[in-house]
Amino acid sequence: MLSDLPLFPARASTIGAGVDHLFFYLVAVALVFSTLIFGLVFYFAIRYRRRSPADKATQITSSVPLEIAWTVIPLCLSAVMFFWGASLFLRHAIAPPGSADIYVVGKQWMWKVQHPEGRREINELHVPVGRPFRLIMTSEDAIHSFFVPAFRLKQDVLPGRFTTLWFQATQVGRYHLFCSQYCGTNHSLMGGWIEVMEPVEYEHWLSRGSTGDPMQVAGAKLFERLGCSNCHQSTNQGRGPSLEGLYGRRVLLEGGGTTIADDAYIEESILKPATKVTRGYQPIMPTFQGQISEEGVFQIIAFLRSLKGERTQVVQ
């Protein structure tokens, strides 16, 4: 019976130990203070209980040193909590160089994953142990949240935006993947498994099964199929600007101002092309809303990144 009672979650990522250690510090502080308060309340309640109606309380109304002590001590202890929590958080805010990217789309009520190599999966994510990965995530509808308790990580996944989450798995195993931001009827079923594998097995897994085109190739095909190349040619002779080397570059806009050609700008330009038009061009591009899925957008992004000749550097 007791062995069925889990008390502590599995830990399988590089940040997991740091989070757990901070958690233990918090538990220790909480235990000390609750023991102190409970102990004093119990002790006073019994020691100073009224034994006869003639009992008189000793009136002590304040003590500035005490007030200062119980302001400053909690302040110091919580300053430690802040700096500890913040340093872990900051250290984990930006993916280390060389992280491999995986693209994730959340939609009611499933997670769709695309590996750059072409393998796709639903409600599962296979990764090798010991390598950093960065998830680039967006939603097709409501807000979702990608939550892996064993990694001690979660990140909300928003429509119209790209959020990222990076991790490096440390333990081979099978771990829960949950959606932790309420997203409608089957919210509690929007989950699956993270499979952390030995690197060799992972390579085997990648090449196995119904492997589609690598994402950039799929993106290039989509680019042709949707007719993008009719206007966006490799020179600036077309009706639209050339997209060679565009990714991550600063773009001058019609009507003044600039923007960085990041994932969000590319998505916006596909779905709502009139919003930010490149200087010197007419707002004649039709919207592709409804004709392209979020996964398609990711493939186009992968294709545009490949035009720049880089695979890992992303501007957010």
Partner: protein, 547 residues
């Protein structure tokens, strides 16, 4: 007040039998529905929010039964989502936020400052009618199928993807907000203009300081909730893109607006409770409160800093990393005044002469549960830990420790403490002590396992869950059934006492404070003569006898 002052406000010896109290001032439904007496309005609120509490509680019972099994066999996912949404909406907007301010605040504020009524008695009655209108709309939307957005109404789910009665519910909450604004305004003006001679700000009972802080939040925060709900309605109804990125909006904007109100609202749901504890602890320890000024100003500090911490609900929502750092620091700062209060209450017990009457047992329970709720709040303010426990049962457990363990314990403690004054009757002490114990034990069994569940990673708002979480969920449900019994007990014996309880003297606890210097129940005009205050609050130096 000293003994001579007490004698001064005793009723004239002429016709003592015919002196009417506020309960006998008129009979029939009309005399209640058209009353402008703050005490009767307090009872109108008491009846309405008690009703809402048990409706919200019934939703919780169904949820807990559903969670007995991992697959959630009692209700469908649609129904479950509506249950937790309605539970949250009703408990927060129609019970917790109005609870102590509108019932105990309305009843006690004029009595505690020696006034005849609040500054705007008719506005006070209007506030109740506005509240009832909003509550009715909420209940109607529940009966006609309910809402499944969660009480947080997060966009774009609420504006675009939910097919439930979002509009009716949002309008209900919107309307009820005006009741809060008017009540807050009324209380602030009353405290500024109607204090009895000699009742300086620093002689006021601490309950009034907490009520003042609460009123500030009502007046400054609630309009932002109204704006957010209005914007939500405009997007849902007219398709104007404010929050949905497909229409050019920003979903995170809604979260900023929503939490700008709803985090301060969390302090509305605890500050008045702290005020009650500051009354009860000195009375049953027969001691002046320790550190009056620190307790008073900590209420104000909580109200002010509480407006600057909303972003701690959004550490993983995609807000800037630097914003998260700032909100984390501020969240730690707002914890300090709460800690100061707990330490001062504990120090008040030192060298007191303590009795274990029911209100004191509830106050002990409050201190314990609030301490645990506050300490677990520190976990959530720690950025890296919050990333893990955000939107899990850890958060559920934390805020129930504050709002149910804290506020509901304080509400029940306050109701028992002032029940002789409100009803003119004494409740059965044995049953009442038992209820305090049952509530405390049931509460801990319900919510402590949820801390463990949360760190294990069980997300909130889950109709079904992985089987390894079952034992902890069963424990929680078992606790909830005990807690339910604990809440039903006071309902029964307090109603019983209204008819069969022995008549209460004017000051059964030998407490200080102007409200105890007038008969129980008080006459409609509260005091025969305007009382004069000549000393600090909680002057428990000399023992006094029942009047």
């Amino acid at each position: 007040m000293n003994a001579t002052a007490a004698a001064r406000v005793l009723p004239e010896p002429l016709e003592p039998e015919s002196r009417g109290d506020y309960l006998n001032a008129g009979y029939g439904v009309k005399s209640w529905l058209l009353t402008t007496d703050h005490k009767r309005i307090a009872l109108l609120y008491l009846a309405s929010i008690t009703g809402m509490f048990f409706v919200g509680g019934a939703f919780a019972v169904l949820m807990r039964i559903n969670l007995l099994t991992p697959d959630g066999e009692l209700v469908s996912a649609e129904t479950y989502n509506k249950l937790f949404t309605m539970h949250g909406l009703i408990m927060i907007f129609f019970f917790l936020i109005p609870s102590i301010p509108t019932v105990l605040g309305n009843f006690l504020l004029p009595l505690m400052i020696g006034a005849r009524d609040v500054a705007f008695p008719r506005l006070n009655l209007l506030s109740w009618y506005i509240f009832i209108t909003g509550a009715t709309l909420a209940l109607v939307s529940a009966v006609y199928g309910g809402v499944d957005t969660g009480w947080t109404f997060y966009t774009p789910f609420s504006t675009t993807y939910s097919n439930t009665h979002v509009m009716a519910m949002a309008i209900g909450v919107f309307i009820t907000g005006f009741s809060s604004i008017l009540t807050g305004l009324n209380f602030i003006v009353t405290m500024h203009t109607m204090r009895a001679p000699g009742l300086t700000w620093f002689r006021m009972p601490l309950f009034l300081w907490s009520l003042y802080a609460t009123s500030l939040i009502f007046v400054l925060g609630t309009p932002v909730l109204a704006i957010s709900l209005l914007a939500l309605a405009v997007e849902r109804f007219f398709g104007v893109g404010i929050f949905n990125p497909r229409l050019g909006g920003d979903p995170v904007l809604f979260q900023h607006l929503f939490w700008f109100y709803s985090h301060p609202a969390v302090y509305v749901m605890i500050l008045p409770g702290m005020g009650v504890i500051s009354e009860v602890v000195p009375c049953f320890a027969r001691k002046r409160i320790f550190g009056y000024g620190f307790v008073a100003f900590s209420s104000v500090a909580i109200a002010v800093i509480g407006f600057l911490v909303w972003g701690h609900h959004m550490f993983v929502a995609g807000q800037s990393v630097y914003a998260s750092l700032a909100f984390s620091v501020l969240s730690y700062l707002v914890a300090i005044p709460s800690a100061i209060k707990v330490f001062n209450w504990t120090a008040t017990l030192y060298k007191g002469t303590i009795t274990y009457d029911t209100p004191m047992l509830y106050a002990f329970g409050f201190i314990g549960l609030f301490t645990m709720g506050g300490l677990t709040g520190l976990f959530l303010a720690a950025l890296a830990v919050d990333v893990h426990v955000h939107d899990t049962y850890f958060v559920i457990a934390h805020f129930h420790y504050i709002m149910v363990g804290g506020m509901v314990m304080a509400f029940l403690g306050g109701i028992h403490y002032w029940w002789p004054k409100i009803s003119g009757r004494l409740y059965p002490e044995g049953w009442a002590r038992l209820s305090a114990l049952v509530v405390f034990l049931g509460f801990n069994l319900t919510f402590f396992p949820q801390f463990v569940l949360g760190y294990l990673g069980m997300p909130r708002r889950y109709h079904a869950y992985p089987p390894e979480f079952q034992i902890l969920n069963v424990m929680s449900t078992a606790g909830a059934s005990i807690l339910g019994v604990g809440y039903l007990m006071p309902l029964i014996y307090l109603i019983w006492s209204m008819r069969y309880g022995p008549a209460a003297p004017s000051n059964p606890w030998a407490a200080t404070g102007l409200e105890w210097q007038t008969p129980s129940p008080p006459p409609t005009e509260n005091f025969e003569n305007v009382p004069v205050v000549t000393e600090e609050a909680y002057a428990y130096g000399e023992e006094r006898t029942d009047a």
